[in-house]
């Protein structure tokens, strides 16, 4: 069992938890993820690691309560325990293995979208610990959905907050903000690391391709086991089929087929919708007959 040491609500429906998981805390690095299954009937939920404390033996996760399992996870309190917590999974960020001198010369811009701010944070923190300065854009629809801003400010040289509705910081999406930094302010970046919704990563990559800035993205597709067994997380990168769980989760953003990934993410949308419906209406939604409740209905 894996104890919840801390629980915090970062924004409406977005939760942060510190989980006691000694083996994971000892061996994980920025860029990797864990799989959480909170009880016998829960789904295996992949979550990118947000932070870790090797001494305390704890790992920080951030998740949005969307589906049936994440909603139930959100109901857990400090002191309670998740049944399963496996990891670290996937590869650590390439940054970690780059020679420090080369990394020091590099101007890196991190672009974080929504809950994607959580996996960006440990990378920025790691860079700071190694003595490297980086910039970071945090984007969200509005002010309420900005998370980890204060934490990020402690580890990044410059933090730019962008909101679609202009309720806080720069008015516009992260791409508008990148354009502003590069084109208007004349900043130079050697590399962009973008983590957020697939659609955001797609458009960031379209822009950075144009700006000729190499870009890394972190993919979080549908997964079951997270160890290479099920192949549900497959995606096309540079014309080749890759498994996000063992070949990624980070890939060269200019090579990822984002449209295919977005379609694959729709896979269980209707089924997830069913789970919500079931919660509201009980077993009756399974009535059948009209066929509207069929799991393959789309």
């Amino acid at each position: 069992m894996y104890k919840i040491l801390k629980k915090e609500i970062l924004a409406p429906n977005i939760y942060l938890m510190d989980i006691e998981a000694k083996r994971v805390a000892k061996s994980c690095y920025p860029g990797q993820f864990v799989i959480v299954k909170m009880d016998e009937k829960g789904e295996r939920i992949p979550l990118t690691i947000c932070d870790y404390d090797r001494e305390k033996g704890s790992v920080t996760i951030v998740f949005q309560a969307l589906g049936s399992s994440t909603k139930r996870m959100a109901g857990y309190e400090e002191g309670e325990e998740f049944m399963d917590f496996a990891g670290p999974l996937g590869n650590r960020s390439e940054l970690i293995d780059e020679p420090s001198t080369e990394l020091h010369e590099k101007k890196i811009l991190f672009v974080a979208g929504g809950v994607g701010t959580a996996p960006v944070y440990p990378q920025v923190k790691w860079m700071k610990e190694q003595g490297h300065e980086v910039d970071c854009i945090i984007g969200a629809r509005n002010k309420d959905l900005i998370i980890l801003e204060e934490e990020m400010k402690k580890v990044a040289k410059n933090v730019y907050v962008a909101t679609d509705d202009g309720s806080y910081g720069f008015k516009g999406n992260v791409n508008d903000c990148i354009k502003d930094l590069v084109k208007t302010q004349g900043k130079h970046y050697d590399c962009v690391i973008a983590i957020g919704p697939v659609i955001m990563m797609k458009f960031v990559c379209l822009l950075t391709k144009e700006l000729k800035i190499p870009t890394i993205v972190s993919m979080n597709p549908i997964m079951v086991d997270g160890t290479g067994m099920c192949g549900a997380c497959r995606l096309t990168v540079g014309g080749k089929v890759k498994f996000a769980c063992v070949d990624g989760p980070e890939f060269d953003g200019h090579l990822v087929d984002f449209d295919e990934s977005m379609k694959r993410q729709q896979m269980y949308k209707t089924v997830e919708g069913r789970a919500v419906l079931k919660e509201k209406e009980g077993e009756t939604h399974k009535g059948g007959g009209c066929g509207c409740s069929d799991p393959t209905d789309r």
Binding site: R23, V24, K26, S27, Q32, K37, K41, G42, E43, R44, G67, S68, S69, R72, M83, D84, F85, A86, G87, P88, L89, V224, D225, T227, G228, M229, C230, G231, A232, R234, L235, T236, V241, V246, E260, K263, R264, Q266, M267, Y268, V271, E272, R274, A275, K278, E283, K286, D294, P295, T296, R298
Partner: protein, 465 residues
Amino acid sequence: MDVLKKVPVREQDPKVRAHNFEEVCLGYNEEEAKLEAQRCLKCMNARCIGGCPVNIDIPGFIREIEKGNPEGAYKVLSKYSALPAVCGRVCPQESQCEERCIRGIKGEPVSIGKLERYAADWARENGIKPDNTAERNGKKAAVIGSGPAGLTCAGDLAKMGYDVTIFEALHEPGGVLVYGIPEFRLPKESVVKSEIENVKALGVKIETNVVIGKSVTIDELMEEEGFEAVFIGSGAGLPKFMGIPGENANGVFSANEYLTRNNLMKAFDSSYDTPIAAGHTVAVVGGGNVAMDAARTALRLGAKVYVVYRRSEEELPARVEEVHHAKEEGIIFRFLTNPTEILVDENGWVNGIRCEEMELLEPDASGRRRPVPKKDSEFELPVDTVIMSLGTSPNPLISSTTEGLDINKYNCIIADEETGRTTKEGVFAGGDAVIGAATVILAMGAGKKAAAAIDKYLTDRQEST
């Protein structure tokens, strides 16, 4: 009673079982088991024993059943196997022990598998556990993977007095027994769980959620956690795909994914959170036991199911019993058929599978008849789901993080067939991780041999120091 024929085993009616996940085969009762046991000739030089990868004293346990002593039969079985209730259900007896049975020359061989199952089930229902009286020797051994190879190796080492810990990557121990083989062939709660409990009762510890190579490496286990020997029984987990257009469409699954969602995550039970897009019309591509499992699972989830196989019925690698059951339940077989493309609608979902008809050439040097496409034979099957069941290969996660552990070009760990010894000192391997996807009992055989070799290695090492 016709002594040339097996005592028939009771099964769930095909029409009924096509709609549930309850076990298909109901097994023998006491009377049936005794009758079948009488058919055994108790050969002095019993050939069946040589057909069993773990060399069970088959006439020995059958004699006990005949005497009306199922407990004694179980005691005999558990000397050789940690998983008799599993083996009685999923072993390919027809090509192993039963193939060599003298009774089989003139009539049907003795139903060894069903008798093994009877004894093991009786013991479970009556609370009989294997006992371990071996003196603890204080030496630690690690076993990676809790599938058939790992459980067998761990059980045997524990019986020799070792302090054994199994590390399992998933949240539930059992490996392919829990994620791969469906409930209707191998009940999880009653059969698999209880046999794993029996292995634990021998003193084996199981740590779940530990991904070796990620959570901790083999070198760390040996250098920091005091394990003197390691057995790798991590199986063959990576699914293969065909590499045809449309394979990444929504509605295309690996058999691993489809089965894992349903077996391990229990998607068929609406009280569990994990979803499955079961499909209305499903094509399962492949002809092995896993393909049969996937097809029969889809059928039970309400789909019309085709099995698409590029060779003919004769070459089907699946067990005859599984194919027979599948046909009875209404699975439609399309032999000599090979998919060339998965057709996809504008939203990215499967809406058909294009296939070509095949014909078989004369046997080549390998003795197998190679299938080749017939000219202009392409046709389309309207399906909304495709399950690829083309076999699996070992996961490189462990080999790529363990220095000095060599693999071959198929990612299989190189290990000595008789001992499981790998290229790394103190590290042994067996089962699918070494030979690629095979059967439960072959993996158990490898686990058994490796346990003996580990004992010898550690004993020799102690003597030489």
